[in-house]
Subunit: 109 residues, 2 copies
């Protein structure tokens, strides 16, 4: 457990009863991970050199249209799991491992 | 990372591109965590003595009816996050920390 990262989100799930507010914040984060296309996009971005991938290289591997991929990337970015940098009609996406570490800490026993 | 537990579910999200099948299994697990009421129920069960709570003691803290609580407990049980033991009209729920450890391992970098 790393309290420095947990403080930015929520206390560990198993430590004490969660408040309504913390539970809502945390549920929104897990919702971003609760979709197979988003999980595959996240793993593709993480596996790319420097954890950064152009959205143009993500459509074929997941077999989805540009607009669908764009929507899912926005959900991941809103949840703080990736950052996006506009690049003409595409975006460069970079994984945010610290955000995954926060969620991992929440699941710590 | 603990390969012994990861093997029962999915490879780490950040290690390589996830397969469609693994992504679907994993998304279903995160979906169980993607609801504030379920997260609060899970934290209440974990915080109870021996990580076991009667469903009769969960309705008031989350402010939901017996049928709503029962539905959410079934979702948690289906995802392997708790076990349920019938006790007349109630159920005794026990946290499964190993399942949370599996999800934690998936989020490991």
């Amino acid at each position: 457990m790393r309290p420095d990262t947990v403080d930015t989100c929520c206390p560990p799930l198993l430590a004490a009863a969660l408040s309504v507010g913390d539970a809502e914040v945390l549920a929104a984060s897990f919702k971003a991970l609760a979709d197979p296309v988003r999980l595959r996009l996240l793993s593709l971005i993480a596996a790319a050199p420097d954890g950064t991938a152009c959205s143009c290289d993500l459509e074929d591997p997941v077999g989805k249209s540009q607009s669908t991929v764009s929507h899912h990337l926005s959900v991941l970015a809103d949840a703080g799991l990736i950052t996006k940098e506009k690049l003409g009609r595409w975006v460069n996406c970079t994984i945010v491992p610290e955000r995954l570490a926060e969620l991992r800490a929440v699941l710590a026993s």
